[in-house]
Symmetry: C3
């Protein structure tokens, strides 16, 4: 069975990463070259010259073409060879594969499966990323673990109370259960919605939740996640005075977008739009704050687990399953079903 | 055929390594977590949470329990889950495997095979390690080589006269044969006893052998080794005035305890009890002296050989066999027979 | 199919590398120990003691013998064991394989196939390497790529105009075709001769081509390469006033000698004899100049390609083939045929 779902949109780059220069990045175990044409359109092509297989990103931009550094073949944004070193007609196989890309809500999305099925309407909607008033920030990390471990991490939020106690997760007086705690997981179409609510916790956090801690020493706090196949999560963090109505806007919206790099390494794009400290200094502060939590708390944990699991499938290892794993387990099952469907379709196509 | 003998006691740690903190160590290619309960009992358990496979050593001690850092499952010294994050009854498979451990003569011994067969009486007896009057010192090194290369190294002492000429082996006037030299190898039950004696060599050494070099410029020198399956060696180094009676106490007792880390890397615990320089400064001096000989002379040699042999079996490479290889060859044969017996027993059990 | 041609002479070392000390080098994926006997004859033997498989290069020279560091076995230049540690008669299998070696024109050549076929007359003739008046310099580099990528690189000189534009290749006004350009590839016996000529290019280069740039602002420039199986290339670089007669001596002769280290790493010996800056300072300058071009331009390119190709065969990847690939493709075909013949001979021998 393949390790990746091919017919899906993946976050390939932050829009602000693409400019004059080439960006080379491995996605779904393929080398991808990102660049923008003169009129600003993003381009994604295989980062490999079809002549002698040099990486194209070591070459040169010549107008809206890429020139290989080794023997000078040039390719346009559609991957067609436009010049061979001695001006002969390029052979028919002098073509670089390209991939559908769409710039959307601050991200560049790439489709690496059947291009005919690359419908931009399927890109997950994360409108907070274009809310200039909330100063969205865009981060990029990598981790040495299979992409599904990233899903597991975000869909099992109990880890906030153990792994993140010194940063963003220490808001319970004790790590155990709290009276009236809520945990609801639902499948909505192809999405998984996960709601966790913790009533009457102390109003303290390393970040501003928008509720006056003097007037309201106790708050209700909840987290709502919407997961889209295969690995895009939209996360709303909310707080309200204890017992107050819950129809408030979140104090923070987040995007968590995981893209396989190889079978056992992954990209992690994260975006945060917030309602507080809305200054350039705030941007820099929270870009460091959240990136640092991931790099020092989540990534080492995921990498340790990857090391311990090796290339085994999670279920083959017969993990203990706890009630709070429901979201992560549902996501795992939907992904497994989709991978099996893909394998079946490939088997039929191969007949 | 397996690479390790499972039903055997292995040195897992020096007793003085276990205290408040966790000690994580790979043994027989399994991750082991060592710790001590409040009353001082050593514990060895698999260093892996059965929930999501995080390494437990990254977690916290909570009384006599280990709490996983990721989602907070707690396990007692018997590996039973005593708390799940939301206080639900832990599932039946929420168990961490534990291993029999015995603290004995300054070492913590672990049994990783069938626990029912873990008889402490089988632990090799190295009483010099509790001779406080001889100030035993306890060292730990690792080397990138199969554990049997450690056996080979110690059971073929000719290498003293070539590899260790500038440290502890240069005691012959010439590296060749000496008149009256003795070499006796015997199997005694499941042990191998090896005796090498070199008469009338100059009384000089980098360490005190207890014979006055002015009164006795020539000495008889001999080394007696007792090997216990699979890789524990007790080594007595002796000297007497040339021609004198041999019923003297050794000037140095050593333990050499090899424990596989992986197929191609090993732990090497070594302990030395001596009759000279019996001061804390002497302890520090000889801890460095012997550790350094291993790190700069033995380990590079073993690692070079491992590199050259790759994963091949020694006999498949058709080595030249010399008369002085008798001890090492006998040990190799006993180990091979035990590994074959283990494989046979596993095959029968699997039927 | 094997990765290397066995019945061939390979450059194993520069003659000036062999002296008192051992030189250990991996060639054709075998560890080779080079040394010279007291009378100066080069020796090449397997760098592995047949007793316990220690690398012999960690041992000692004892007259015209090599003594293993571990247990002291000694071997003469023919690989015969001349001493065992206890003076017993060495066992019949106490032999180290040796290889035919010939010192020729500043290089030490080794034959690692059937010794009976090691005819010194087959060593390629590169007489410029003994032209003391041209101060030949001898360089050695390594690269992480299959040896055939080294052939490809040198037999496809279009790369001068793209990869080497800032060093030795920027002599065309534009990287494209030039009127009257010549490209002739011929097979001559088992050799491949490649001629590339570029008329009327500006007389400028980072090195002296022997044509006065004031009197002759335009020159004709050509490069002639002779390739010998499997990977020895002799390269003459020539220049003459534009339209002048071509019967001039080259301003530079080069040897490019590639020897496989492993399947995916290679040695690259290069020698340059020149007609200018004939001083010790010039030697040092050009030893750096050419070594640096290889290390910073060619080697990274070859290593990138090796990474992209993995262990795939070039033709299986269906490369685009351009007219200027003719020399490289002809060489690839001759090598493939020779490898296939070798595999066939081995299959017959194995019957």
């Amino acid at each position: 069975m393949a390790d990746f779902l091919l017919n899906a949109w993946y976050a390939g780059a932050r829009a602000n990463e693409l400019g004059e220069q080439f960006l080379a990045r491995r996605l779904l175990d393929q080398p991808i070259l990102f660049w923008r044409t003169a009129n600003g359109d993003p381009v994604a092509m295989l980062d490999r010259c079809p002549h002698r297989f040099a990486s194209l990103h070591t070459g040169r931009r010549v107008g809206d073409a890429v020139e290989c550094l080794y023997h000078g073949l040039r390719f346009d944004a559609a991957g067609r060879c436009t010049r061979s070193p001695y001006s002969e007609t390029p052979p028919a196989n002098a073509v670089v594969p390209t991939f559908p890309v769409v710039e959307h809500q601050g991200m560049v999305w790439i489709w690496m499966g059947d291009a005919a099925r690359a419908d931009p309407a399927l890109i997950p909607d994360h409108p907070h990323n274009v809310r200039a008033d909330l100063r969205p920030i865009f981060g990029h990390e990598t981790f040495s673990g299979n992409w599904q471990l990233g899903n597991d991490n975000l869909m099992e939020l109990t880890h906030l109370f153990f792994l993140h106690t010194s940063t963003i997760g220490g808001y319970k007086p004790d790590a155990g259960p709290v009276e009236g705690e809520e945990y609801v997981v639902r499948q909505v179409g192809t999405q998984v919605h996960s709601h966790t609510g913790t009533p009457r916790v102390p109003n303290k956090a390393p970040i501003d939740m928008g509720v006056d801690p003097v007037a309201h020493p106790l708050i209700d706090r909840w987290n709502d996640i919407v997961w889209d196949m295969p690995s895009a999560m939209k996360f709303a963090m909310c707080a309200t005075p204890a017992g107050g109505p819950r129809d408030v806007a979140p104090y923070m919206y987040q995007s968590h977008l995981i893209t396989p790099e190889t079978k056992c390494t992954s990209h992690y794009f994260w975006n945060v739009a917030r309602t507080f400290e809305l200054t350039p200094e705030g941007d820099a502060k929270y870009l460091h704050f959240f990136g640092n939590i991931f790099r020092t708390e989540d990534a080492p944990m995921i990498e340790d687990i990857q090391h311990n699991m090796g290339e085994a499938d999670l279920w083959d290892l017969k993990p203990v399953v706890l009630p709070r794993d429901r979201g992560a387990v549902l996501v795992r099952r939907l992904v497994a079903r989709a991978l099996a469907a893909q394998a079946g379709a490939e088997a039929i196509a191969a007949e």
